[in-house]
């Protein structure tokens, strides 16, 4: 159950009484990295020993758990593990404890209702919409009437397994039980249909630090970066983003109010965070304004920069603002001060004329020392590109640790390296998007759009990593929506494929929800991919996929391929929803056909 405020007490108990070590399993995204940093700082304050294991998918999670389960009793999962039945998959001992801090929703009902071994870290006001306990699990007395099991455990997972056995073996069931099972199926179906994201784990961790009175400006900054990562990757709605920004703004004023006080102002080396209503242009302060305008998805899609008319519109846009081309093409820091002064208001005014209404966004920026000023989204881009760096042949763990290090203030060289890599990545994304649109690579398959990158495409190696491919697909969908005239196509979701490993002949596929103004960012591709793959991995046994938002099919479950009956699908081994999967190249067309028939 929810164990928010007691987590601090638990950790104190750990160090003072038990002196146990803790295993941290951290997923590979920037939000998880930030949450991990905050937790590491808290551990260091109290000298708690921990081991950090980065995981990039379900396989790695299971392997890491199996390797370490003898040595550790306390496991902390950051941004992984909430949306599956952990007890069933990992089969832990009785005295192991799992602490889960995950922004993926919906949280698996077993995880929610387990009282002993699983502790979830969620914010009080995060609405989980969990179905009531009585609707899903039955009491013991009723059970004992129907089955002759002597087990007395009240573990919800055991109960659920027993129900599955009952319905699978086709025993004679009473009408009451049948109704219960029917309603239960419906409720669970609705609950687990779409997947989305809740509050960022970094913010939850910062909340924890605040409750323990150990919050620092550094941790607040990491919480901000975690939230901005969710926004950059389009995982949360605009409304939620603005609400969370408001929450963080209160903390920022609490920590940084001394900056206005002239008498006792802080040393220039101290870190200051400031709230800004900044431009939405990626990395514009570390690049030239022109490059930033060309390589940000919002501006590039609105101005349609892949076409010749688009380029002309860009020139018109710049002329409208009165910015000379020469100024705009040089490094931002070297631009004329007179031009930089009112830049934001000028750009916003002109942008409104050109149909870009949301060019400014509420965000935070940090500065320390005389030279170092970064905006939150800069850090997000830099860290993502460090984490998925393909330039050197380092292992994934090395890249993870490097990205983790770059979040500390002392490692500015790594941060600058990350910024350079991010610029390359953004440029590559824009060029790929432009070529896809110009060569009409995005085709409508009926219920969804599909685009596949060929092996010889320049920079295609960059897109063999999940987060980069996700970014590419979101930008592609945005641009496609702006470029197409077909009204129906504008509302379709997108499935994107790119070669993952040429030697092994695998392909990485990702599915994202449609690009609509009032989108609630709920994704059904996880369940859809799972079903299209088949029960035993008819296409391929589950490769390293990421636990991303998933949802089930909106068609009725009786239509699932392979003739799976509704009852039997519940007998499957624990499902692992994944919106990003790995396939063998030859299985790709079969998978697509299965997916099309599933969704139509």
């Amino acid at each position: 159950m929810y164990q928010h405020t007691l987590f601090g007490a638990y950790i104190n108990a750990i160090i003072l009484l038990l002196l146990q070590r803790v295993l941290l399993l951290v997923a590979s995204d920037v939000d998880a990295l930030c949450a991990c940093k905050i937790l590491q700082a808290l551990f260091q304050c109290d000298h708690v020993q921990y081991t950090l294991v980065p995981v990039a998918g379900w396989q790695e999670l299971e392997t890491a758990f199996l390797e370490h389960k003898d040595q550790f009793k306390y496991f902390v999962f950051i941004n992984c593990g909430a949306n599956v039945d952990l007890l069933e998959i990992l089969q832990p001992e009785e005295d192991t404890f799992f602490f889960i801090c995950d922004s993926h929703r919906p949280i698996n009902v077993v995880n929610v209702y387990n009282d002993t071994q699983i502790k979830l870290l969620v914010k009080q006001d995060d609405d989980l919409d969990v179905p009531a306990y009585d609707d899903i699990f039955r009491d013991e007395e009723d059970e004992e009437e129907d089955s002759e099991d002597e087990s007395d455990g009240s573990e919800p997972s055991e109960k659920r397994r027993r129900f599955e056995e009952v319905c699978c073996t086709g025993r004679k069931v009473t009408l009451q039980m049948w109704l219960f099972l029917h309603f239960r199926r419906e409720i669970l179906f609705d609950y687990e249909q779409y997947e989305y994201h809740g509050t960022s784990s970094a913010m939850v961790m910062f909340d924890l630090a605040w409750i323990m009175s150990k919050d620092l400006n550094d941790m607040l900054w990491w919480a901000i970066v975690g939230l901005t990562d969710q926004w950059v990757q389009d995982k949360i709605t605009q409304m939620k983003y603005v609400t969370d920004i408001g929450i963080l703004q209160r903390h920022v004023s609490r920590h940084n109010h001394r900056n206005e006080d002239e008498e006792n102002s802080l040393s220039i080396d101290c870190m200051r965070i400031a709230f800004e209503y900044d431009l939405r242009l990626a990395l514009y302060q570390h690049w030239s304004l022109y490059e930033s305008l060309c390589n940000t998805s919002y501006t590039s899609a609105s101005l349609k920069l892949w076409s010749v008319q688009g380029q002309k519109r860009l020139q018109e846009f710049l002329a409208d603002m009165g910015l000379p081309l020469k100024q705009v093409k040089q490094k931002f820091n070297s631009m004329d001060v007179s031009l930089k002064e009112n830049l934001r208001e000028m750009i916003e005014e002109s942008a409104n004329k050109f149909g870009m209404k949301d060019l400014r966004v509420q965000t935070f920026s940090i500065h320390f020392g005389f030279k170092n000023k970064f905006s939150a989204s800069d850090i997000v881009y830099a860290t993502t590109s460090l984490m998925e760096n393909i330039e050197k042949e380092d292992s994934e763990t090395t890249n993870f640790i490097k990205a983790l290090d770059s979040l500390s203030r002392g490692n500015l060289d790594k941060l600058h390296q990350g910024l350079d890599l991010a610029k390359k990545q953004l440029r590559a994304i824009q060029q790929t998007v432009a070529s896809c649109i110009c060569t009409n690579l995005v085709i409508s398959q009926g219920p969804f759009l599909y685009c596949s990158l060929m092996e010889g495409t320049p920079d295609v190696k960059l897109f063999s990593k999940p987060v980069s491919l996700c970014l590419l697909s979101k930008y592609l969908l945005k641009s496609f929506v702006c470029s197409t005239k077909n009204k129906r196509c504008k509302l379709l979701p997108l499935v994107m494929a790119a070669p993952m490993d040429v030697e092994q002949g695998t392909v990485i596929m990702v599915g994202i929800p449609p690009e609509v103004e009032s989108s609630d960012k709920k994704n059904f591709f996880g369940r859809a991919f799972e079903k299209a793959r088949g029960p035993q991995g008819a296409v391929l046994p589950a490769g390293p996929g990421r636990c991303c938002p998933a949802g089930s099919v909106h068609a009725s479950s009786t239509d699932s391929p392979g003739g799976l009956s509704p009852a039997s699908k519940r007998c499957l081994p624990a499902q692992k929803p994944q919106t990003i999967i790995e396939l063998k190249t030859e299985d790709r067309s079969k998978f697509l056909d299965a997916l099309i028939s599933l969704l139509s």
Partner: protein, 186 residues
């Protein structure tokens, strides 16, 4: 002596902190510390203060001489006098460096303090160099300097003594034939 050794000695100085935890008296070899009560100031050595600060368990209170007005006075005094003036603490340089590195958010106007202390240090080093120079030039036998701190002595100490040594050897070798024991000096 290495500068690190001098800093180690400086870390024994006492400084006031305000802890946010509670702990009974602890008995260490060098003496007793504590008891620690949240919100009540207590005096601890600098090494413990820095450690607690890094673990976010306390707030440091700067020593009373670490104040812009006082340091300005000291700096002006130092510039006026020809000899060395007494310093507020025998380890003023090390303490400034340690406290400003780790606890600059607890010290108001930290940048100005850093500049003032550096100015004072520079003035004193200049005086030291000047007096060493005149000492050597006039071939004095001994000199007396008041109010020098260990760190300042340490910066010139080794060099000065070795240089004087060499000069003595060179000087004795200038008188040839008088002693055939010159080789014994090597």
């Amino acid at each position: 002596m290495e500068p690190a050794e001098v800093e180690f000695l400086a870390e024994k100085e006492l400084v006031t902190i305000v802890p946010n935890f509670s702990l009974d008296r602890i008995h260490l070899i060098g003496g007793d510390l504590g008891p620690f009560n949240p919100g009540l100031p207590v005096e601890v050595p600098v090494w413990l203060a820095i450690n607690l600060k890094q673990r976010q368990k306390c707030r440091l209170i700067p020593p009373e001489w670490m104040d812009v007005g006082k340091l300005e006075e000291i700096r002006d005094q130092e510039r006026k006098e020809d000899t060395f003036t007494p310093m507020p603490s025998p380890y003023y340089m090390e303490l400034t460096k340690l406290l400003l590195n780790y606890a600059s958010d607890n010290i108001p106007r930290a940048d100005e303090i850093r500049t003032l202390v550096k100015d004072t240090w520079d003035t004193r080093m200049a005086k030291l160099r000047l007096s060493a120079d005149s000492f050597v030039r006039q071939q004095e036998a001994h000199a007396k300097l008041d109010n020098l701190t260990l760190m300042e002595i340490n910066t010139t100490g080794t060099f000065l003594t070795q240089a004087l040594d060499h000069m003595y050897k060179l000087r004795t070798n200038l008188q040839p034939g008088e002693s055939s024991h010159s080789q014994d000096f090597w």
